[in-house]
């Protein structure tokens, strides 16, 4: 039998002017199990709280009902007060008689009657409340960052700076990501490598950071604070501990015609290679698809020339298993396939390139040593056409429905730099809209037009036709002149839509993190929790969450790190005790609950049960991880047997409220 105390708040006159608080206290005092019922001017005040605390002690209350403002306002206040008086805080229920009664009704009799009913419903509920204790779980003070681009690097550095160990898992042989391939960065035009490579080196040198390059996440288990992650370390065929990065092997390797992915296949590398000069870690890797030794056992040159004895053809994939408290997805982006747009002739002409290829063509470490030359004949292009929104802002059938966000700015950069370096070049940019929100962004774009004389034409390109003389005929519309233009271009640059990394979808599945239809990770709240995934303990950094430029990526990466540091700084995680739980005796093991759980909080195991006839029986039953469950209750309705229930909002509690209201 519960002993319930009822406390009716006047809230000054906010409640008392419309609700006869004395009558409410009196009426509720007559309800079963209610041993004390009082009213007071301000329950949330110090003295009001003391009144509650004293009553809890004096009457030995097991439940408290407070008729006051919305629980969204003071539920925590009253729970804390109850806890201070030794009552389990979850034995407190609030009847909202201000926002949902006194403030909206004028007739005092009517409002008083409603307040009494709301009070009764709260009493009916609290009768069935059980003390809840928030579960605690420990926190492994180590973070995993998946992806070693600028987002992952920045997040890792910030976490490491705060004193927590971080592992970076990067699927490529080096960290650096897309930013390492860029030439200059807008709007300041500083050299990308100059600002990125020091950060890469810092990662390598930071004692708290371990870089697992050429590695992939294999499996993830556990939950916030307690993830266990298995990482596949792909065979490099080079001993990381021995290789000095001298590069001799990469010069002597006889297999010379391997397309160099760092330069997007515009030049070649060897079968054993270091992706680029500033790679971190600067360790060679053998491309097993091309290496003669690995393919047919004939060669072994690299092994012979390696003075460190680092080459090991027998290396196999190995696995690392590590525990983490937090996981950061920083899987970045890729350039979408533009060959599907026949009209731009990307696959027909070498002189139709993507903007990332253009970056490499203007980069001093690129295939042309930084001189802008046409890929087809190595000649200097005199007319360059940039086409915006290639594959962006389309219907889903035609491409990506979103704006890729970075193209307007990098195209302005490309156009500007081209005009600066080669003033004899005509540069056209065909745009639908020029989108330049960002600090100094529009100014930058205007400079391209006003100072550098880039021809911005509002309109789209309909067709790019390679001609026999090696030029490209660009047919486009100029919407302002209402003309169709025909431009003879030497080079066409496509601002290809970006898309999330292909590996992101499978990673999201491993992490039980949700994704939108475009395969961008979903944030826990689009405005208020933009760097967290809805899955507790999983955080989002950079492009994997949506298109963004470098400054935004770095801001988000640091924000993400702050959230991770906040989590790792805790010794214990206190959960929300209002979570779902399954009655094993009733559970059918049908998986309906797990199917609707947005957090992957429900797992199944085979359990042995003693049957009434003394036999044992093994049944598949659900288990809700209280540290992962967020308490939405979707599972409770999906469960046909009623095995699943939600603490704090149990079936019987809600029905008791229903009964009290309908009585």
């Amino acid at each position: 039998m519960q002993k319930i105390g009822v406390f009716v708040c006047h809230c000054g006159t906010n409640i008392a002017a419309t609700v006869d608080v004395k009558a409410v206290a009196e009426a509720l005092g007559r309800e079963p199990s209610v041993v004390v019922s009082q009213d007071y001017t301000y329950m949330c005040s110090e003295s009001g709280q003391n009144l509650i605390k004293d009553s809890i002690r004096d009457y030995g209350l097991t439940g408290v009902v407070i008729c006051s403002c919305s629980p969204r306002m003071h539920e925590n206040t009253f729970r804390k007060a109850a806890a201070q008086a030794g009552l389990n805080p979850y034995m407190v229920e609030i009847a909202n008689i201000r926002e949902q009664c006194s403030w909206i009704h004028k007739d005092k009799a009517e409002a008083t009657e409603k307040a009494i009913i709301l009070g009764r419903a709260a009493i009916a509920k609290v009768q069935l409340n059980t003390p809840l204790i928030a579960g605690e779980s420990s926190v492994t003070k180590r973070a995993l960052v998946i992806g070693g681009g600028i987002a992952g690097i920045q997040t890792a550095l910030d976490i490491a700076e705060a004193g927590f160990p971080v592992d970076i898992v990067e699927q490529k042989p080096t960290i650096g990501g897309k930013m390492a391939q860029l030439d200059k960065t807008f709007p300041t035009l500083d050299c990308s490598a100059c600002i990125l490579t020091p950060k890469m080196v810092e990662c390598a040198q930071n004692e708290n950071i371990r870089i697992l390059s050429y590695s992939e996440v294999e499996s993830v288990s556990g939950f916030v604070g307690n993830f266990t992650v298995k990482i596949r370390r792909k065979a490099r065929y080079v001993d990381e501990t021995k290789c000095t990065g001298c590069g001799l092997c990469t010069e002597k390797c006889p297999v010379k015609k391997v397309p160099n992915e760092f330069n997007l296949g515009m030049d070649n590398r060897r079968a054993i290679y270091i992706p680029f000069a500033q790679a971190v870690p600067k360790i060679a890797v053998i491309d097993a698809d091309y290496c003669n030794m690995l393919k047919n056992g004939k060669c072994g040159v690299c092994s012979k020339v390696c003075t460190a004895g680092a080459v090991d053809y027998k290396q196999t994939d190995t696995f690392v298993e590590e525990k983490y408290g937090a996981i950061v997805a920083a899987t970045g982006y890729e350039i979408s396939d533009v060959s599907r747009y026949d009209e731009y002739a990307y696959s027909q002409s070498k002189d139709v390139i993507t903007s990332l290829e253009f970056e490499r063509l203007t980069n001093a470490a690129g295939p042309t040593g930084g001189t802008l030359l046409r890929p087809s004949d190595g000649k200097h292009p005199h007319t360059i056409v940039f086409i915006q929104c290639v594959g962006s802002r389309c219907t889903p059938e035609k491409g990506k429905p979103y704006c890729s966000k970075i193209c307007c700015m990098y195209t302005a950069k490309h156009a500007m730099l081209t005009r600066e370096k080669y003033p004899d070049t005509d540069v056209y940019v065909f745009y639908i809209d020029v989108r330049t929100p960002g600090k100094n962004f529009d100014e930058f774009y205007r400079r391209a037009v006003e100072e550098f004389g880039v021809h911005y034409i509002k309109g789209a390109v309909g067709k790019v036709a390679p001609r026999a003389d090696g030029t490209l005929e660009v047919q486009a519309s100029d919407l302002i002149m209402n003309e169709q233009l025909h431009i003879s271009a030497d080079l066409v640059v496509l601002a290809a839509a970006i898309e999330p990394s292909k590996s992101a979808r499978s990673l999201a599945t491993l992490l039980t993190a949700s994704m939108d239809t475009n395969d961008f990770f979903t944030e826990a709240h689009p405005k208020l929790r933009p760097v967290e995934s809805p899955t507790a303990g999983v955080f989002l950094s950079g492009m994997c969450q949506g298109p963004k430029d470098i400054p935004e990526t770095v801001s988000q990466a640091s924000a993400c790190a702050a959230k991770v540091i906040g989590l790792l700084s805790k010794n214990k995680l206190t959960g929300n005790p209002c979570v779902a739980h399954s009655d094993e005796l009733m559970c059918n093991g049908c998986s309906n609950c797990a199917n609707v759980c947005p957090y992957g909080a429900i797992t199944y195991s085979d359990k042995e049960f003693r049957m009434p006839d003394r036999t044992t029986k093994t049944r598949r039953v659900a288990w809700v991880n209280p540290a992962v469950c967020q308490g939405c209750g979707a599972c409770t309705v999906a469960c046909p047997s009623g095995a699943m229930d939600l603490s704090g909002f149990s079936n019987s509690q809600i029905m008791a409220e229903v009964d009290a209201i309908c009585k």
């Binding site: 929104c389 389309c394 035609k398 491409g399 639908i432 309109g459 789209a460 309909g462 519309s477």
Partner: protein, 126 residues
Amino acid sequence: MNDLKDRVLRMSGSAVVKCMRCGKCSATCPSYDEMEYHPHEFVYIVERGDVEKLLSSESLYKCLTCFACVERCPRGVEPAKVVEAVRLVAERQQGGNRLKPDEIPALCDPDLPGQAIATAFRKYAK
């Protein structure tokens, strides 16, 4: 609202409001120079509800119905279908036939495939 616009929208099945005004339809149009109103203008003018303006334009008969604009439109607006719908509205008016049977003999040219005339007749008459 606007009856003519509704008719054109219904007949074409085109969602002109999806247009983002990129002009790729006009950029790709082989009849561009022949036309008074270009494909993107058709879409825009229909969206504004000014169909009468288009009904009297020769542009209706300059569209080759090659569907390049439909193929290229990134937003799935299908401009050629809009043009076609406006043309049908024009031709379905009393005396709206563009090509009359007695005009055909004069058009017959040994170099012109008979199919082309049949097609033109189908396209330009009720």
